[in-house]
Symmetry: C2
Subunit: 331 residues, 2 copies
């Protein structure tokens, strides 16, 4: 059995290019004792992977040239020599951008009974959804009736942040990068106010959408968005720092917000986090989010590319705004 | 009876100058019913007042041209027509940079029994000491055995931050602006490592003084210090944002730290505060700090200028490093 996979051909400089990636084909071994063979059914491409393509210290080690890129995947067990896994089990793994693999079961988790498409477990019911959940409710300490602004609001994390905030009785503002996405936010996802950050002045948009100011700014992008939000925060506002996609492709360090000293008088909290800091909440998250998705209270938006060959294009598309909701590769 | 006071003659641009201030003399009225007459014995000049000299929105309203500047003062009641105050009572007030005044008792607090010089109640046992106490223990959530770095460490707040951290069993680093101040920190105040921030590279100093990284950075200065500290924080570190003296005299907004995105992976918290956000801890603070000062566990450093005419020079000196510990005007 053969499996194609995507390796890092060279380190991207600035915006990633097709030529930074290459597709290889490998044999998939027969499973030995304690091993299973998995056929992936869908796979995740995520903005945080851009950081791992740079050779520097970070919270996860950098990818090496020639190495298969790693992202979350969901697959089905096709052969099992482990007593803990049966053929047909859905499993999640981080064994690389590949169609299939054989491996020991360490690091492979059974997904259990699923109540939505497998790809939802890469998105709304997966890592991005849990990032939204813990970032808004724990890091952002959201309270009912507050006003929330989320950037990258049409993305995998942002689209869930906004919908959870609405469920919690909050006023919700979002920014996105096109008129279509803005329409999605207000017409389909229930946002109270949304705007195209490429049109007009950020602060003017925030003042129009939240005349009384912001209690929580969920930051997916950094840069100008963060500076404008700080300018418009209410006293004791909270800013979960979740991502900084606006600077991931920068080749020089970008200056931070020039108004950070406003945090002093206003008593603002800026707190960075990644989802794995909150693994103890995984069961709560899955219970709540499965209920919300199956009841229709939360819409799990996805942008789906087909086949492993599309993975580099899908990944690059994360930085050009090609996705609405979670970007997924289906096999 | 006459009293001299200091008024804002014009708004400073950049570093304040003598000519931004003028001294006037006024009659002090006889107290009417419910009023008291107070002779100040000492008075505070503080960096935060620089912000109030600019005509912009801030957490306290700006000073007006021709208005008497306002800072904390401690005085003695010399005449009382209030049943709540007696001649000889020590009182704290914020009625301006003046030698004496007559006023209704609203906004005037009795100091009660004092266990140190009155000026200590403007410094270690006053607002700067309480800023250090709540900033380190509440905002910074300091735990025993952690490593703490404080900038402006020879100042009114920083000198107390470092000493409290030592009492809590922590390793303490401090930066200051002269060799004399550095010597004070390590030889007199018990800091484990101190350095002159004008000499060498900030990050190299931090690496030398704290090879394992920082758990808490108490930020009094902003700018380069904040950026270097972020670079050297340990996972889940906390950064109380207390002041940004390095930029108070800037005429253009200064860029923020270019590495703020590091807060994401490390799970860092940056939290701004001012002391009045924690007024509910005033009694705890006074009890603890009086005990520490009277036992000698904490040294209340002061730089004393004599007479109200010296107030502008003392205030300007805050930005040139003229003070060690609390800057006080004695009358």
């Amino acid at each position: 059995m053969q499996s194609k996979s995507v390796v890092l051909a060279q380190r991207p400089v600035g915006m990633p290019q097709d030529s930074d990636f290459s597709i290889i084909s490998e044999d998939v071994a027969e499973p030995g004792d304690g091993e299973i063979q998995v056929q992936n059914v869908c796979m995740s491409v995520d903005p945080y992977m851009r950081g791992r393509m740079v050779d520097r210290k970070s919270y996860v080690p950098p990818f090496q040239i020639g190495e298969v890129l790693t992202g979350g995947a969901i697959g089905k067990v096709v052969k099992s020599k482990s007593p803990d896994f049966s053929e047909g089990d859905y499993v999640t793994s981080h064994f690389g951008w590949r169609e299939a693999f054989t491996a020991p079961t360490e690091g492979i988790d059974k997904l259990g009974a699923i109540v939505a498409d497998p790809s939802a477990y890469l998105g709304a019911i997966g890592m991005p959804g849990m990032t939204a959940y813990v970032g808004l409710l724990e890091v952002g300490a959201l309270k009912e009736g507050e006003t929330v602004f989320v950037s990258g609001a049409a993305g995998a994390v942002g689209s869930i942040v906004g919908q959870i905030a609405k469920l919690k009785g909050c006023r919700v503002l979002g920014s996105a990068g096109s008129a279509d996405k803005v329409a999605l936010l207000t017409e389909e996802l229930g946002f109270d106010y949304a705007f195209d950050y490429k049109e007009g002045d950020l602060l003017s948009h925030l003042r129009e959408g939240a005349p009384e100011g912001l209690d929580v700014y969920f930051d997916n992008v950094g840069g100008d968005h963060l500076q404008a939000a700080i300018m418009h925060m209410r006293p004791f506002g909270r800013i979960p720092l979740c991502g900084a996609i606006s600077i991931y492709n920068d080749t020089e360090p970008s200056p931070g917000p020039n108004n950070l000293a406003m945090a002093i008088g206003l008593g603002l909290t800026l707190r960075g986090f990644i989802v794995s800091h909150f693994n103890h909440l995984a069961d709560d998250f899955r219970r709540d989010m499965e209920a919300w998705v199956t009841s229709g209270a939360i819409t799990a938006k996805e942008t789906i590319y087909d086949g492993i060959e599309a993975a580099p294009e899908a990944f690059i598309g994360l930085f050009t705004g090609a996705n609405t909701g979670k970007m997924v590769i289906n096999f």
